[in-house]
Symmetry: D2
Subunit: 282 residues, 4 copies
């Protein structure tokens, strides 16, 4: 049995020693520990994975951890048992490359999630949902129906017990009402190396500016558009010889890999968010 702890709190002496001592006292063998101190912010972060030979009551462990450590150091913390599959909802519009990439990883057991449904404001990609035998909900969004559509979305998310949402090129802005229910639990892919070219049509803007590098950025969604904590970024070179169409084609490969990496990091509990930034553990 394996447990993973994620901790952050005000930096102070003795935390590592106390936590490792606690884990060991419960019979745990630490197989991974990584820590980070943001000196500017004065915050301590740690991720620790521990094996236990004998079965353990997760509830008891959590209670003891809370009483003995978390309260003392005023920690924000989370403990996950190995093998728990989170429930991931996929939101898409008309582009299929990110959807295909995530579904093929899911299908081959590379991405350990359950996918209760795919939701789209268009009917176009239902055939892919069918290929992978996943329910597909077509929830159109127009200016007039946006409120109603969001109500429908929230109902579906609640009904299926969704843990987090992936916007796999979902071309709609998510309202604060939805974000509030899923704080740091909505992952978006933006097709530029943010903060450059936030907003609509980033490839057109990049072409116009004559950049020699284009990128893609996956981030947690916050109320401010394309300004949430960055999880993962990557770039590729372009030149004057590439048209906007070429930018879009090269960008597709970036987008799908960057989004899938970010989703994988989230699923493996390797991210902590603070100050609108992320700590990404290796």
């Amino acid at each position: 049995m394996e447990l993973t702890l994620l901790i952050h709190c005000t930096d102070q002496p003795g935390i590592i020693s106390s936590v490792t001592h606690f884990v060991q006292s419960k019979g745990g063998n630490i197989v991974y520990l990584d820590q980070h101190v943001d000196k500017e912010a004065g915050v301590f972060f740690m991720r620790l994975t521990s094996e236990f030979e004998h079965a353990l009551s997760l509830a008891d462990f959590k209670k003891a951890f809370d009483t003995n450590l978390a309260k003392q150091y005023e920690m924000s913390w989370d403990i996950h048992m190995d093998g728990q599959k989170p429930k991931m909802a996929l939101f898409v519009s008309k582009y299929n490359h990110c959807l295909y990439d995530l579904l093929s990883r899911y299908n081959s057991g590379e991405l350990l999630v359950d996918i209760p449904f795919i939701l789209s404001n268009h009917p176009d990609l239902e055939y892919i949902a069918d290929q992978f035998q996943i329910p597909y909900y077509h929830v159109p969004v127009s200016k007039d129906t946006k409120k109603k559509a969001e109500r429908k979305q929230l109902d579906l998310l609640e009904e299926h017990g969704v843990d987090f949402i992936v916007l796999a090129r979902y071309m709609q802005i998510i309202s604060p009402e939805v974000i509030d229910v899923f704080p740091q639990k909505i992952i978006n892919i933006h097709h530029s190396f943010l903060p450059a070219f936030a907003g609509a049509k980033p490839y057109h803007a990049a072409f116009e500016r004559g950049v020699k590098i284009i990128g893609a950025t996956s981030h947690y969604v916050t109320a401010e558009l394309d300004a949430g904590p960055i999880i993962e970024q990557d770039v590729t070179t372009v030149s004057h010889s590439h048209s906007i169409k070429d930018f879009i084609a090269k960008g597709r490969d970036l987008e799908k890999i960057v989004l899938s990496r970010a989703v994988q990091l989230h699923v493996e509990r390797k991210t902590i968010v603070y100050n609108n930034k992320t700590v990404i553990f290796s």
Copy 2:
């Protein structure tokens, strides 16, 4: 003997055929030809290098080219004879990494330029100019003396017959008066992947935003700050574990390599500027 032609004009049928025919008729053997059509802008670009077994009057060649081709196609064009070393002035402030990188390339014959002088608003780097036995002019710049300092700069540039200027981390804004005298002939290095983080303190801004990639951009200087035609960009990965100090250290390596590459491209006549963008020939 070797000639390099750089041409751009409105795209129209028959240009390549006409130009290659012309070069051949003058006894030239084409050893390099690259062309590009910007379909959006409707502009044709070509770089062509040709060997001539027998000596050739450059003036006659230019005149014939102008009469027979350039006028007909309304070309912007330039012809360079192999082996002409351009005169490059270096402007620096206090950082030495870009300066060292350019001077070591110059010293080893990798960068084929003459360097009549190094100019700085600070005295700090004079010792490096001494190491490489290059004249060093200390021209302080303050709010009150800026006009006078620019006059001094322009005098020095004219006096030494400078062809182009490299701002090797020169921490002063260049006035339109100077830019006008050296249009598309001032190369700057900015320590971010433009257009992200233009202006002052880009590493601090990048750290604040929590990006996972930092970059450097070399561009021709125009009146608008950090908005000129991009010649070269490169990036490197960073993580939450890097402090601003680490960003600056990693950035130094990017800056010097990106600037030196851009200078090399300019020296080898591989750049054409149009619409505030560059065509970079291979």
Copy 3:
């Protein structure tokens, strides 16, 4: 109507001028031209795309080209009309990531080919063929049945008029008998940056050696294992903290992108092979 010419021959003066003149005389407007001279080998290469306003007999054009130019310069050449979809056979074993990546590009119209069938020495991936409604042939290969299996493969390839074969992690060595029928028409993906770690288990070898970078290489298959002309390579960083399992996971993303890029280049007629190397046009 659009034609693309691929030419290579001994380097000699006047080729570009002659070819561009010929194309123009037939009413063509050159929209793309790239050429390369391998000075060591003394070989000239050219790719040229030309638009024709009026319909044209491809047969007549080819005949005229052959008579007027190809014979004179002793060219190896090829002319393709825009819009012809080549027939691509996919060979796989048990890994699905490259297969999924190619099929999703095919399905979304990004990869302009016909796929008459998928062939495998294992039954495992038939479900994916079914997802995409493509015929799947299970042709087991053992030491004893290898000859018979190859006979079956060649029959299928001939029967379906296959133009080229993609080995999307097909874990069998292709015999010279098959290679001879498809010279420079079998594309493989090898999971290392060749020539490092040719042969079996490259990730294990890379881990053992302690490299800090792993790669993937797509190449045309020749009789010598993993030694054919390289079409495309890419790499990603690794560290001591990555296990062999991590290498394999990171490698999957490399493999699929590198293979798909190579296939795209082949389909777009952007590759010329010579001296066991490739010229890749932009």
Copy 4:
């Protein structure tokens, strides 16, 4: 005052807890801790940095650490006090790019070492040593004088109390006699992405093979040529359009950056060698 511990030993439960407890008991505040377990080899590695408000006897600390921890866990370990500058000898031949890069970092205080001397088998680069006012020893090496030259090298190294050697494109093979005196203390730069193209003329071999990526590798020197533990690698893309001369020019930038990074990692005590591989701490 700041101490950095480097530890490796057989993996066993309780190490982190014991070490962090020990450091804390001595009044240390842990500001950095990174650990790694090589599960295949069953080895545990840790790097830990701790601040101490009050002065501390390093000797006492080491003794206590040895008695209380190192013996119990059978650790290989090392403790460094912040601010100790190691003595680095530079060996060069005729290429100057790596030398210039290291010296400019040294001169600007980026690389915290002392450089007692530069040694070369050629007189060519003495002018650079003069530029930076560092003693230069010309020790020619021929088949006949190799033994004598090595004796001279060892004398100089001992005389100046050299801690480690950097081969900044030193084109001679180091004998086991010298390696034995400086185990894991000689850093070389090889101009290929090892293990590809070990030995002489790697750029020629890379060109011949038609690779699309070239690289550079910095490693600790061992008795087997180009086969020592890799510290750092990097790559850059090439194409058919690059000549061997272009490979060499592009490679220079790689070589100098990769070597300087490796030297920096060594100087900052961020490397541990085991099983002919390295653990590189962040």
